[in-house]
Point group: C2
Chain length 157, copies 2
């Protein structure tokens, strides 16, 4: 499969990037993954302006990554918090892959800002790429591709 002969826009990376491809969307999603669910808390944490946050949350809800759930504290009006949907939760490997790269290449000299671990056993967590025959896929392991059922050839130039 010669990649240049296929349509860029049909690619699954491009489609995911279209959903996530904004800095704030990813940071808001990260905060929701980390248990920050309420509008005011999300807004204060990465320092995102309220109108920008409103738009990004609408995108996340519209793309079905996040759902709005009403809550009400005594004496206050109904407000909403934001929780991951199954599709949103399935972005965990994306966020962890971003985290690992940043830990390795963009940490302060002192070291990474946080250590993530498996709550049940306490062991650190990491992202692996493997083939279904069990081989580890490293950065230099050669991969190949073949067109799938949703591939689209580009019109000849």
């Amino acid at each position: 499969m010669k990649w240049v002969d296929y349509e860029s826009a049909a690619c699954s990376v491009a489609r995911t990037v279209d959903v996530l491809g904004d800095r704030w969307t990813l940071l808001v999603l990260r905060d929701i993954f980390n248990g920050i669910r309420r509008f005011d808390e999300i807004s204060a944490h990465p320092g995102v302006a309220r109108d920008v946050l409103t738009k990004r949350l609408a995108v996340l809800v519209g793309e079905d990554l996040v759902e709005r759930v009403p809550y009400r504290e005594p004496g206050a009006r109904t407000r909403y918090e934001y929780r991951l949907t199954d599709a949103g939760r399935d972005l965990r490997p994306v966020l962890l892959a971003l985290l690992e790269w940043g830990d390795r290449y963009r940490s302060d000299p002192a070291g990474p800002p946080a250590h993530l671990f498996h709550a049940e056993c306490g062991a650190p967590v990491h992202v692996e790429v493997r083939c279904s025959a069990g081989h580890e896929i490293c950065s230099r392991t050669r991969l190949a591709a073949r067109p799938g059922p949703g591939s689209r050839r580009r019109a000849a130039a």
Copy 2:
């Protein structure tokens, strides 16, 4: 570790997103991963305007993800192609995680646009999250975090 008490900007996800957080940067990187290395080819493929591409390649070179390598065809002036550095190649898990999510959630009804496999053995490739004790980390597996040496507490509000 209560995430809301720590500075968003020191987070490794935020720092990686700062490097990659532009739609075109990720698509250009994807094309270079897929062996499209020359300016004209990259520009034609996802349809990125030449001035935008020039800027994005400068970012990728400046961030040390990509290097410019001169080449010269007979009778033509020296031109440059773009190749991944080691740091760039180490973004493979990020791109594969984006790809997998898109295959699952944004494919055409017919199915994914491409199948990636391990060139040596032919088996399909996938991203896994595990802890170092060997447990598989699924979307609903509970993770926890503790501050690392580069953590920064937020100033009290």
